[in-house]
Symmetry: C2
Subunit: 215 residues, 2 copies
Amino acid sequence: MNYSINGNSIIVPEVVVQRLPHYLNILSILQVEKTKIVSSEQLGYLAQITPAQIRKDLSYFGKFGKQGKGYSVNILVKRLREILGVNLQWEVCLIGVGRLGRALLSYPGFAPEGFNIIAAFDSDLKQIGQQIGKIKIKNIVEIEEFLQSSSIQIAIVAVPASVTKDILNQLYHSGIKAVLNYAPFTPLDHKDMIIRNIDPVASLQSLTYHLKENN
Amino acid sequence: MNYSINGNSIIVPEVVVQRLPHYLNILSILQVEKTKIVSSEQLGYLAQITPAQIRKDLSYFGKFGKQGKGYSVNILVKRLREILGVNLQWEVCLIGVGRLGRALLSYPGFAPEGFNIIAAFDSDLKQIGQQIGKIKIKNIVEIEEFLQSSSIQIAIVAVPASVTKDILNQLYHSGIKAVLNYAPFTPLDHKDMIIRNIDPVASLQSLTYHLKENN
DNA sequence: TAATGTGAAAACCTTCACAGCT
DNA sequence: AGCTGTGAAGGTTTTCACATTA
């Protein structure tokens, strides 16, 4: 993915982008603890990443440190939030309000980070019309129309495996640009719609590989 | 991580191990559809991975295909399940029975894959003693003793950020070898305890990077 | 003939090591 | 004096391309 400094577009490896939230997370804790300055050495220790890696990662986006001193925690937090786009508020819609979807609706971790679920959809007639907190569950068939009159770019998908592919296609055609997908992985290559999969079973399966005796 | 073929130990890159559940997932679907043979080309198309990558990945573990033909779906499923250790049943304990923990307890996706949550722990006195399905919630202080008289190697952690580090240390000292961690990332380097983090906020934050205008 | 299995090449990512700045 | 920022080196992962085999 590109990042431009002074009009020069630079390719930032995706692995680097995915480490930034982790840095930000640790820096935010330091900020709460009123730490003013942090070196790549200290940050590396806290993040379990080599100091060189941290400096290199940050260097893709500019020069944020002071040589001989380190990084200002406040400045680095501010800049990382800008880089990630987390300084903005993001409206998100939720697809699927089963057990998992409901847990996500009431998950208190999204809003403080600027992610606000403002609409929820399902296909189950028993669910449609129900009120959960501030949100009234809408019929999935209305989603395309709804998204056309909104600026939502992000969807969280928590639907059964059997309908995931259809839902993702529908979201794509409705203009959704990014998906956090809790359904078991559905490979789909809509370039210009980015999907992050959360699949606990796959994670467990790669853990058991390491637990087996005969490996 | 090592894998031995005919007594020769081979280093398998961790990225490779983490792709295997994905292959297995797609192959299982093919199996249900009664597909008998699949080529790396077809599998690659379905998995959105290059055919060469798939062949290379599989070659770390042996020769499963027939030249000129492709791979037998049944054989490949069987072998991948053995390689991942998913042909076995795994007992798992859950730490934290808040909203998320309860959703995980009733998540129907674990058991069919051989992951059985057989105990749950919390520190909240209101929760302790409660019965959820077949499971009675135990006091977290009893966990070390409990684990010593069991063969559980895997824990799923769904506790508040503030106590995650303590819990992970406690699990480590109780002999837990693998953790699926839903709490915001806690860097900790206990070699010989493997941690997989699931952090939806971090995932969303790396998505918004790509959605910003000025990148 | 068609597709695997695999060395070798290419691409990518991490670490090193030090010039340069404060 | 101390730590950043960064080319260059080193290591890892992916892709290529073809010999091999059913």
